[in-house]
Symmetry: C2
Subunit: 201 residues, 2 copies
Amino acid sequence: MTTIDEPTNARSRRTRQALLTAARDLIEEHGFGAVTMTQVAERAGVTRRALYLHFASRTDLLTELFDHVNDTEDLAASTRPVWDAPDAVTALDEWARHLARYHPRLIGLARAADHARRSDPDAAAHWDLVRADWHDHCRRLAQWLDHDGRLAPPWTVATAADMLWALMSFDVVEGLIVDRDWPPDQFATHLATVFRATFTL
Amino acid sequence: MTTIDEPTNARSRRTRQALLTAARDLIEEHGFGAVTMTQVAERAGVTRRALYLHFASRTDLLTELFDHVNDTEDLAASTRPVWDAPDAVTALDEWARHLARYHPRLIGLARAADHARRSDPDAAAHWDLVRADWHDHCRRLAQWLDHDGRLAPPWTVATAADMLWALMSFDVVEGLIVDRDWPPDQFATHLATVFRATFTL
DNA sequence: TCATATACTACACACGCTGTGCACTTTAGC
DNA sequence: GCTAAAGTGCACAGCGTGTGTAGTATATGA
């Protein structure tokens, strides 16, 4: 992946921003697979050639977009209630609420990233980092439960972390929120029920 | 989707078979996104043009392959222990074992189908049928639990069916079996634990 | 065994997408 | 206002899907 130099120009920054939001909107509307570089450029009011002055490739655009969204949407703020919780069981509830709050907005991008990682090694590397980070969160939760003596058998910290991590998959989020039309709060409470029943003593 | 006539010729049937297995092998090895029509044809020892004499399009190849695999792998046999179970709770355990036994073999194809359905309406229609069928199974399980008086609150038949259906997603299977390297039997028992703890009284 | 329909080959082509090269014009910033 | 950066316009290579068409090999039934 060729990295593009940081822009010094003000117009350049605006264009870059326009390209990112154009890409994001198009992905939300049609999915990344159906979105071409030409369309992104057109919506941003710029030449396709100019798009390649900002992003070295389709994959590069995608990964930079993902990072940009994570910054914009304030991931840290959404996870704060989890780590500020008084005890592990409450934290687990908050974790479900965080997933219901945050992940639906990422569905489109996540699908795009997941698709890209299967053909592009750079995308795969980037996506693996993100998922490793999620797994860290899950392990931390499992450890907390264990430390509080609330981790139900037969779970170990390792297996609970793995399962918790698997259960936060976008298939689950998308299946319920999009395909089965669950309202986000119903998703939050029922996911919390699954977590509590499964992992807590 | 243009449908291709059933073959009358014996050679034609062999070629068709060779093409399907070639496609399946390549998908397992590299994923559908990285597999081209040329590669499928080459591995089957046939011209690309001949491939299009059997399958109208890439999507057509994919959907026919999916049906073919479902026939070959004997889905019915794998779900039999579920519906032969003496009670709903045992059935739920068997359901987890069925998922652990059957779905890992479908991961590659499922990824391909899921990818295709996001750009091709025909693929989407076919895939929706498959998933609707899975949802029927889940609802049947939920109804059985409810009938036996073993459905834990706050679940209703509808919400339990939806959640059960969401939890059988390929992201979960792939995440644990492939990414976290879980052996299938560990996956089966722990998934059964999740189901039991979550849904049963 | 021979005639005929069917399967397959070997080319060709149109079209869409990605990514790059290059000469040119516009714009930002000192 | 001058200079460097940003953007344009057009051309091109490469690869993928899907179709057309004329000719060759093969199966099958009479």
